[in-house]
């Protein structure tokens, strides 16, 4: 049990029980504990524990009132971690679902690291995948301690004790709730080894429609960063450079400080911050600022010019991200060679809650309130900005109003900005940074712009014998701590999804040309697959047409050894009635793609009106994500992932003119709305494979499915996203 041995949470907790009986919602025992215990500074913070409670391990706390709190190490931003991770622990505990409460973990890399990469953070659809065994063991371990306590109290063998729905009982007629046993169980040793359930005995895992554990979202009581209220708190609004790369030359704060409510104006590395009693006064203060910008190093290019540059670079040989077979020979043998290129624009994450963060600097340390995907990264970023140790930075992870990758910023941009403002303000009061929608869109970060070139050769049977794929674009990981993951010049996030096709092609190559620009870029829901799934799956339909074959038949003929692709493809085809006749104004398109270990196939059905405008009417989605922990959350993530992917498919793009973003709010930055949303029919493959993620894998599949339906309808190939609203 890795999580118990390494961090010695049991020791830490027993000390906390003896020394600190505090249970406070704000700066509580965990903070004091971590700041006090020798050697714990680097380890970070621990959950609060009160007297009489059982902190069985880093993830399970049982209170005398019979509440079982599951500590959730992954942020909840709609993808369902508060429910999903709690389901797994509750399953092994045999807890009653009604007694389960979920709580966000404090920042503590040792206790709460993501097993996929070693720091505390959420991303890459890893929450369930990396926590599955950990949460099972945590639940089983807590159960073991409760049973041991009961066995001791009742003087019966532990093997005769039954646990069901939160009640521990023995055939002699005695029984006790978890809460009644909590204190006694806290004196039991933490087991070295626990027995896990046989999956066939799962009760909660796989159960449909378990009530969710991220509460308060239908009555306005859920607290997001935007809603944090603290004594003495001030609000900051920042004037950022109007163009990428511009800097503050000088500014006058006179008019800003004259605005009622404005208390301070400070310069920070990327602009000038106005601090006031309320948001509106801070914004008025910012509007009154006079700033002289230094444009000497500012970006001048437009996105049109950038794409021209990318197309030119696309003529050059790139670095080989993957290669096998004899490509030249295969192209020589091919009876047909098909070429296509594809353009992808910058994309904004456009979370509903614009970027924001609360930071308070006091003599005791730094405290942060934020809905961040990267507690460890934010601790490091703030520590570097404020010249302190990461262990002095307490992070309170709140619900986030969407993220889609944005709040996993490689530079902790807006978080560090808040820390700079708090530092420059020089007072121990909390500072809430609020970005307006325009700030959010204009500052970036964005999904990079990409240019793809594809070339394939078919033999006389219509089989693909050669495939060459070249990708041109900025690297997400460069210029950050993640640059260490770039190997041989290849940023894997630029080519993922292109290097691992569902299809077996004997002669195959993927090249990457990484280019630079001053536009800040970041991962965006499903990352590389946002563009690679489109180019590869749209190209497959072009090849199917060249081979004179049905797109589904053509795909099936090229599938490799992995049966899971075929299973999702066949299920989506069956449920969408693929191949059946449609009225002349309707068409279907299919696409299949694996990302983050999960397999997704979709069939999109379009309907065209008399004016040549189309609507995506319905989408059938088949998914194989291994063991289905919460089927309804899987369905919800497929539905939402499709809706999210539909925006860049149909209408979203960020364009740049003279180094500045053109679309700054939702009037210009088009996104899918109610009227654009198709009906979505999700089918989950029953599987005993280890669970994989569902937050991202639906997103990249919808654009090629729609493009292929358009291709089938009009015969016109779509080489540029967004597709627009006309056939």
């Amino acid at each position: 049990m890795r999580y118990i041995k390494e961090p010695k949470i049991a020791d830490a907790v027993s000390i906390s029980r003896r020394v600190f009986f505090k249970k406070s919602a704000t700066i509580g025992a965990g903070f004091t504990l971590a700041m006090t215990l020798p050697g714990c500074v680097a380890a970070g913070f621990t959950p609060d524990v009160a007297e009489g409670e059982l902190m069985a391990n880093a993830f399970v706390r049982i209170s005398p009132d019979n509440t079982v709190t599951i500590i959730i190490k992954h942020i909840e931003f709609g993808q369902g971690t508060f429910t999903g991770l709690a389901t797994i622990a509750a399953e092994e505990m045999d807890a009653d679902w009604g007694q389960i409460v979920s709580e966000a973990a404090p920042a503590n890399r040792k206790l709460y690291a993501n097993g996929s990469w070693g720091t505390q953070g959420t991303g890459g659809s890893t929450a369930i995948a990396n926590s599955y065994m950990q949460m099972r063991e945590a639940g089983a371990s807590a159960r073991h301690m409760l049973v041991a306590a009961a066995a001791q109290q009742w003087s019966v063998p532990a093997s005769q004790i039954i646990v069901s729905k939160g009640v521990v009982s023995h055939k002699s007629g005695v029984s006790a709730s978890f809460g009644e046993l909590a204190e006694a169980a806290s004196n039991q040793p933490v087991p070295d080894k626990v027995n896990l359930k046989d999956p066939k005995d799962f009760i909660l895992i796989g159960l449909d429609n378990l009530p969710r554990k991220d509460l308060g979202k239908t009555d306005g009581t859920a607290i997001f960063t935007q809603d944090i209220k603290l004594p003495g708190m001030l609000t900051a609004v920042v004037a950022h450079p109007p163009r990428f790369g511009a800097k503050v030359k000088s500014f006058s704060k006179k008019k800003a400080t004259a605005v009622k409510g404005v208390v301070n104006v400070v310069e920070v590395p990327n602009g000038v911050a106005v601090i006031a009693d309320t948001f509106w006064n801070a914004k008025k203060g910012r509007d009154a600022l006079t700033i002289d910008w230094d444009y000497s190093e500012a970006m001048t290019e437009s996105s049109v010019e950038l794409m021209q540059r990318y197309r030119k670079v696309g003529d050059d040989e790139g670095l080989k991200a993957h290669t096998h077979g004899d490509l030249d020979g295969a192209f020589k043998r091919a009876v047909k060679i098909i070429e296509a290129d594809y353009e992808f624009p910058y994309l904004a994450h456009a979370t509903m809650e614009p970027m924001n963060c609360v930071v308070q600097i006091t003599d005791d340390g730094v405290e942060v309130w934020n809905g961040s995907q990267s507690p460890t990264g934010d601790q490091l970023g703030i520590a570097a900005a404020l010249w302190t140790l990461p262990g002095n930075v307490k992070v309170n992870t709140l619900f986030a109003g969407g993220s889609f990758g944005r709040r996993s910023n490689k530079n902790s941009d807006y978080v560090v900005e808040t820390a700079h403002i708090a530092k420059q303000n020089g007072q121990p009061v909390p500072i809430k940074l609020v970005w307006t929608r325009e700030d959010d869109t204009n500052a970036g970060y964005f999904r990079p712009m990409y240019f793809h070139k594809l070339r394939a050769g078919l033999d006389s049977q219509g089989k693909i014998i050669a495939w060459q794929h070249k990708i041109v674009g900025q690297s997400v990981m460069s210029d950050s701590v993640y640059a260490a993951f770039i190997t041989n010049g290849i940023d894997s996030t630029s080519v993922e999804g292109a290097t691992s096709l569902p299809y077996t092609i004997p002669n195959f190559e993927v090249q990457l040309k990484t280019v630079e620009s001053q536009v800040p870029v970041l991962w965006w829901r499903s990352v590389g697959s946002t563009h690679t799934a489109y180019s590869t799956e749209a190209f497959m339909d072009e090849l199917a047409a060249a081979a004179g074959q049905d797109p589904l038949v053509f795909r099936r003929a090229h599938l490799g050894d992995d049966p899971r692709y075929k299973a999702v493809l066949d299920l989506a085809a069956e449920k969408s009635d693929w191949g059946s006749a449609l009225p002349a104004n309707r068409s279907r398109g299919v696409a299949v793609h694996k990302s983050f270990g999960s397999y997704v196939a979709q069939v999109a059905e379009l309907v065209v009106d008399g004016q040549g405008q189309y609507k995506v009417d319905k989408v059938v989605c088949a998914v194989d994500c291994g063991v289905a922990i919460n089927p309804d959350i899987i369905r919800a993530q497929m539905e939402g992932g499709i809706g999210y992917g539909l925006s860049p498919a149909l209408m979203s793009e960020i364009t740049i003119d003279n180094g500045a973003v053109v679309e700054s709010n939702f009037d210009a930055q088009k996104v899918v709305r109610m009227r654009d949303m198709p009906a979505v029919d999700v089918h989950i493959i029953a599987s005993a494979e280890p669970p994989t993620g569902v937050g991202e894998p639906a997103t990249p599949v919808i654009a090629p499915a729609v493009a292929n339906a358009l291709f089938s309808l009009s015969g016109k190939v779509r080489h540029k996203l967004p597709l627009g609203i006309r056939v």
């Binding site: 709609g78 306005g220 935007q226 509903m352 614009p354 939402g640 009037d667 996104v671 709305r673 109610m674």
Partner: protein
């Protein structure tokens, strides 16, 4: 200057300029945070509240223009339609990140009030002003219809 606002049946005196948008008066002065900031230009619907029962975007409504009109926020939603909408949202597990949902619920409640049995086109028209980036739209649509049915059952 102090401006009087009637929110959820209670009078609040707000000491700020009349050009302050209702959204920020509700959030920063009255201290109720269920109504959300999303765009500031009446384009996303996250800030939707009711003014005399009508859905309005509070982010562009100066408090100086409101007078004694009745403001209802998500915290004060207690109509039969509102309760039915909230129950349907929970039952159909509509919510993902949740940030837009106060606004969605306020818009959907206003729709049911004027149109107890909305069809798809009615729902499109009434709710296309409310963006949900998690794209919970399909479930919102079903939940509106579900709430409509639960109300009609009650009325029978």
């Amino acid at each position: 200057m102090a401006i009087s606002l009637k929110i959820n049946g209670k009078k609040h005196s707000v000491d700020t300029e009349p050009d302050t948008p209702l959204l920020w008066a509700i959030r920063d002065h009255v201290g109720m945070t269920g109504t959300k900031f999303g765009c500031g230009i009446a384009s996303c619907g996250a800030c939707t509240v009711h003014l005399n029962g009508q859905p309005v975007r509070s982010c562009v409504m100066p408090i100086g223009s409101i007078g004694d009109q009745e403001i209802t926020t998500i915290e004060g939603l207690d109509s039969m339609e509102g309760k039915a909408i909230q129950a349907a949202w929970d039952e159909l597990a509509v919510v993902q990140c949740g940030y837009c949902q106060s606004g969605q619920i306020m818009s959907a409640t206003a729709l049911l009030k004027t149109n107890p049995t909305p069809n798809d086109a009615d729902i499109d028209a009434a709710l296309s002003g409310n963006i949900c980036r998690c794209a919970t739209y399909a479930r919102i649509r079903n939940a509106v219809k579900h709430a409509s049915r639960t109300i009609s059952v009650k009325e029978v």
